[in-house]
Symmetry: C2
Subunit: 276 residues, 2 copies
């Protein structure tokens, strides 16, 4: 399946720009899951089943599984999403980046082993480090551009002859790396002006926007800065604010309520849609 | 154990600047290992045991294990190096890079799960994405600076007000990120002039230099550009040229001969050493 096409369809069919990030932290699991051998899988699967009709994508973060020696649970989770919730693309948040021969292995990891529809990639090593992912055709390649953390400015905002490094990267991706039409960019919600600059550079390329919720980014400013003319163009990620909305046995229901509220808060700020 | 101190001791005790990269590619294993369930571990362990007295470090590349669902073999390999070859530090080549909460998980993966002595980290997300690794104290944090691949220039060589991005990064790491004295930098052997520029910026900070052998970097130019005044300062990595020096059952002996020749080629170009 083609990631970009699937994402665009999911935006419309589910009327949602919300991406739910799956960052399973055992320290924050409800008590009923404590000590269970496949707690990360059980936790994430409950969140997925409670929110799948409200989201345009799920984004599991591989570090949380790797730190727990739970790669098999990540495999099972993605398998579950594909089987039970077809049409919802899975973005593997891995932020890999390495030379071609090693990038081939990372692409194999993301797309063959985990069966992700898209993967986040760090662009610091340049075009040939990204090509092995692009070579998978319909799979999505989501490049870090302007990240939502304070240190993101250390390199990304350096001035390159009148533009910032992140702007140069956006231009490079739009003009040169996106020949196959399967690229997207990560731009943090904490800097709406910068979302607007990236949007101006990349046309209607999808933007993955972390940073709302726990990281403090404002939904209204994010949507205003990043949406395309038709009111789409964004996968706005929330992880902790949804995963840990409730701490009790009803954590999945609490997550659903949080996802619903977030989707509605996003939709309230979007451009008028067909039927409005 | 302190990574930087261990590396410095290994340089002297083994009279070697050679780091052997462990990138197990099943397509290139000798026939005797084909189809064996723990072939990656068996292959790497044989290479390690045949070369440990000739190297200053081993650098397993996690992508090769992850693509094969062989994380358990990577754990066993590093455990083997620590048990059998104490004093040889293990650099986990992972090139992770993410925001603080996720970086905590990646640091846990590298240092607690895999028991690596150092890890390679991608600096694109800036200082707060690196701090969780630095917080582990004696563990080494080896930041990508100027990488050996052709696309490395796409971002790393952009001009930032009179200096290149990789130079700015080297300056940032030396002046601000290395307060704990546990940082090092990756600078590719394919660009000796750039190794010299980085060396001029960072004093005697260790440099991890990939790109000799299969990638074509010249040993003489690398050593001349990168060594410190006392003839150390570099961990010069070779992976494929050593791992796949032989294709038959004597692959480990062939790897030893290649490692010996590479160490000697490096040493022949080093500054005069004590006792010379």
């Amino acid at each position: 399946m083609d990631f970009i096409a699937t994402l665009r369809a999911a935006w419309r069919e589910r009327d949602s720009l919300l991406c739910v990030g799956l960052d399973p932290d055992p320290a924050r699991f409800p008590a009923a899951l404590a000590g269970r051998p496949r707690a990360a899988l059980e936790f994430c699967r409950a969140i997925v089943d409670a929110t799948a009709d409200l989201v345009c994508a799920f984004k599991p973060q591989i570090a949380y599984f790797a730190a727990q020696r739970a790669e098999d649970q990540l495999e099972a989770l993605i398998e579950h999403i594909h089987a039970r919730h077809p049409g919802v693309p899975v973005i593997l948040d891995a932020k890999r980046g390495d030379i071609g021969s090693t990038a081939n292995q990372y692409a194999e990891e993301a797309f063959a082993r985990y069966r992700a529809d898209a993967v986040t990639v760090n662009p610091y090593m340049g075009r040939d480090s990204v090509e092995p992912y692009l070579a998978w055709g319909g799979k999505g390649v989501i490049l870090l551009c302007r990240t939502s953390n304070p240190g993101g400015a250390d390199l990304q905002n350096l001035d390159i002859g009148g533009e910032k490094l992140y702007e140069r990267l956006a231009r490079l991706v739009a003009a040169e790396w996106n020949g196959g039409g399967n690229c997207a960019l990560v731009v943090g919600a904490t800097y709406p002006d910068e979302i607007a600059r990236v949007r101006a550079i990349v046309g209607d390329m999808p933007l993955l926007v972390p940073g709302i919720g726990a990281q403090g980014g404002e939904i209204a400013a994010t949507v205003a800065a990043g949406q395309t003319a038709d009111g789409f163009g964004l996968a706005i990620n929330s992880s902790r604010a949804i995963l840990y909305a409730g701490a009790g046995e009803d954590f999945a229901a609490a997550a659903r309520r949080a996802a619903l509220a977030t989707r509605e808060a996003i939709n309230a700020r979007r451009a008028p849609r067909a039927g409005d």
